[in-house]
């Protein structure tokens, strides 16, 4: 299966992968809580990085700092060589290149599914309506919700909504996709339909940062697993090594709690 290529990638950067997202010594506090502590993380082009760890370990915050939905206190983050700018037009332009998928979908409630996927293309990319509509329908077909195009988000199941959200992010042709616990709000039987779309994206070579509790996805799709606890990156390894032979006690403890039942 894909494990061969995974092993290749694990020893170093992916073959053609230059550095796409670089976090350098990032620190962040929420009041007294030090949520991100000295985070160094480099994500290469075409790489799939899965971030796992216990609740409150700072993994969602880490994901959200990459497109500056959360600001950082110290340290620097750069995307494709450009440091994240201050809030404003410059940042908006950069965010258009970074797809984001949320735990709670966050589809625009007053717009149809099709309009959700078209809006960014028209308003941000300035694509004309016809081209935007065609691309939106193609993407909706690709994630398997093409028949729902004219419904409103509230009329769709959670799994369908999340797939629309993925299509909405893809419509911007992002350089990297961030997934912030994309399946945590879903009923169990809908998790797979979302994971399958993500698997396909990973196979297509999309650069992805995925915060998740889905260990199966981490095993099969990740090039690298990042294990976080208490605001620190405790361990980074390729999935096989991480799951079969974790180095840190904290990771052993975490895995023993989630894998054996």
């Amino acid at each position: 299966m894909s494990e061969v290529s995974v092993t290749e990638n694990a020893d170093g950067p992916a073959p053609a992968g230059d550095q796409l997202v670089v976090l350098d010594n990032v620190n962040k506090h929420f009041g007294a809580l030090h949520v991100l502590q000295d985070i160094d993380l480099t994500i290469h082009r075409g790489e799939v990085v899965v971030v796992i760890g216990p609740s409150g370990s700072g993994k969602s915050t880490l994901c959200r700092t990459i497109n500056r939905l959360e600001t950082v206190d110290t340290g620097s983050i750069s995307i494709d060589g450009k440091p994240l700018p201050q809030e404003g037009r410059e940042l908006a332009r950069l965010r258009a290149d970074v797809g984001m998928v949320f735990q709670s979908f966050n589809l625009f409630a007053h717009k149809t599914v099709l309009e959700n996927v078209m809006l960014g293309q028209i308003k941000v990319r300035k694509t004309d309506r016809a081209a935007a509509s065609k691309k939106a329908r193609d993407l909706l077909d690709r994630v398997g919700v093409g028949t729902q195009a004219d419904k409103y988000p509230a009329q769709l199941s959670g799994g369908q909504q999340q797939r629309v959200a993925i299509a909405r992010a893809l419509a911007m042709d992002p350089k990297v996709m961030l997934f912030d616990e994309p399946t945590s709000a879903l009923d169990p039987e809908m998790i797979n339909e979302v994971l399958e779309v993500m698997q396909q994206l990973a196979r297509d070579g999309m650069t992805m940062v995925v915060v998740t509790h889905e260990m199966g996805f981490a095993r099969s799709a990740a090039n690298r697993v990042v294990f976080m606890a208490d605001g620190r990156i405790i361990e980074e390894a390729e999935p096989n090594q991480f799951f079969n032979n974790p180095r840190s006690d904290r990771a052993k403890d975490f895995l023993s709690k989630i894998l054996h039942h």
């Binding site: 809030e87 908006a92 965010r95 290149d97 984001m100 966050n106 007053h110 809006l119 509230a154 911007m172």
Partner: protein, 215 residues
């Protein structure tokens, strides 16, 4: 009874006066109120401070005091020769805008934060996010309080009558000064106000129902 029929032109002028002052200042208040609400939620601190100051100043000042400023300070210092209608519209519009702003802001706060985050994540600017995503979803919540605010504005417009504007209150004073029975005058004036306020609540009820269908 006869006071109405004998002075139909005066009543008509008063009614139209109240209607036009109310409409003009409502339009001004709506535009300013939405703008200032945008200021109050904007990421730029000076704009936020301006918005907060605007609301604090105008909402907490007695309307009559604002009229005094509008009629005795504004023409003296800034724009001499401004018509009483214009000055009354400014005073009422500015005053009401602070209430509209707060109603709009409460509407904005009912839209889940995730909507704005999603909009920003696909690269929308603050203005695009506000205009295309937040305000349309806030509208439904804002409509009922807005209806109350505009009904209050209609009744507040009576103050303009004391500042050389021809409107309903002004006409009632004129006729009672001429010695006509005050009971009848008030009855007709009250009915005229009711026509306007009922129209406003009807209009907003219609709006509310339409927004419900459009989800």
């Amino acid at each position: 009874m006869n006071v109405l029929l004998d002075h139909l032109p005066e009543f008509r002028d008063g009614f139209l006066g109240t209607l036009s002052i109310t409409a003009a200042s409502a339009a001004l208040a709506l535009v300013l109120g939405i703008l200032i609400a945008g200021f109050r939620v904007s990421p730029i601190p000076p704009l936020r401070a301006f918005g907060t100051g605007w609301v604090m100043l105008l909402r907490n000042t007695p309307l009559t005091l604002l009229f005094l400023v509008a009629f005795f300070v504004v023409p003296q210092i800034l724009f001499p020769g401004t018509s009483p209608f214009m000055l009354a519209t400014l005073a009422l519009g500015f005053y009401t805008s602070s209430f509209v702003c707060e109603a709009v802001r409460s509407g904005i706060n009912t839209v889940p934060l995730g909507q704005a985050e999603a909009a920003r994540s696909i690269g929308m600017t603050f203005l695009q996010t506000l205009r295309l995503i937040i305000l349309p979803q806030a509208t439904r919540t804002v409509v009922p309080p807005l209806s109350s605010i505009f009904i209050a504005l209609t009744k507040n417009s009576a103050v303009a009558g004391a500042f050389s504007n021809t409107e309903l209150f002004n006409i009632s004073k004129l006729l009672s000064d001429r010695g006509f029975a005050i009971g009848w005058i008030f009855l007709w004036i009250a009915l005229a106000y009711l026509i306007i306020t009922f129209a406003i609540s009807g209009l907003f009820r219609l709006l509310e129902r339409r927004l419900e269908v459009a989800r």
